[in-house]
């Protein structure tokens, strides 16, 4: 199905998309049809900068298991580094 459900957050950082590196300003996460991954539905994650146009996008299509493992890995990586070292106020 097309879920329409979208988690949207503001972010700070950069991503590398089809046109090279850009500053990302928002990320959206949603479960919906995959464009490329060989599954009907995937967890889709987009890093975007709307001010630079639709091509300023880093896209992921992951299975539930992969997406949750990625989320855990992000938390583990941050937890294992000195607190605040990658913070906006580092």
């Amino acid at each position: 199905m097309c879920t329409y459900l979208t988690e949207k957050i503001a972010v700070e950082g950069s991503g590398k998309g089809a046109t090279g590196w850009f500053s990302g300003t928002e990320a959206i996460v949603y479960v919906d049809h995959a464009v490329h991954a060989p599954f009907t539905h995937t967890v889709n994650i987009d890093l975007l900068n709307p001010s630079l146009g639709p091509a300023a996008r880093v896209a992921l299509e992951l299975t539930e298991e992969s997406a949750l493992a990625l989320a855990d890995a992000i938390r583990a990586a941050v937890a294992s580094a000195p607190a605040g070292i990658a913070s906006r106020d580092q």
Binding site: C2, I28, H33, T40, D46, G53, P54, A55, A59
Partner: protein, 252 residues
Amino acid sequence: MTTAVPSDALRAETVTITGHGGDEIEAYLARPLAPGSRGSVVVIHHMPGYDRETKEFVRRFAAAGYAALCPNLYHREAPGADPDDAAAAARAAGGVPDERLVGDVDGAASYLNGLDGANGRIGVIGHCSGGRHTFLAACSLEVHAAVDCYGAFIVEDPPEGLPKVMQPILHLAPQLSCPLLGLFGADDRYPAPEAVKLLDEELTRLGKPHEFHSYEGAGHSFFSPDRPAYRPEAAVDGWVKILAFFGEHLAG
């Protein structure tokens, strides 16, 4: 000496149409080149966008003898973008409002009716979110045939968090302007068989002509030939039913 245009010759191209609010938007047009009176089909793309698969649908209708047109519902948010990038941009911007969808389909129908050979009869078809949009358009505009391929959220309460623009639209059923063909997968969860049954019952109660088919062993997106959800038996039979339905209601 003149050479007759082959009966199977087609032309397919990007055009500009006037959509909702007078906006100029991109659309993909395919039509037979041979002269003659023909019906028209508005193809409403699914949420992943104005993509290659949808354009193949458009050309298939042209090969079947119709002028077919798919408006790019995301043109305003992402002109010229790749379809998947455009879909992400439109999603991030909140999606397509129902009112705008209706205006864009109306604009597509007007464009088609202005083409040489148009017989004034308009069909509408969409898959997935386009199925819901098809029902919405057929309840909002005067058209002659509509095909809803597994459109969800016509009947059922949306999951928590669904944007307000995507609320159920069953209450529009009394305004359904044309016969409706519904093609569904029995294993689909959105729409689930219970929701399909409720829509079927409501249209029967209202005396609205409709024909529903639910395919066993098929789930959502069974028409998508390059996706794992593809079910050839259901898709092949579905195409036969679609073309027979449009043949009955759009001919002339």
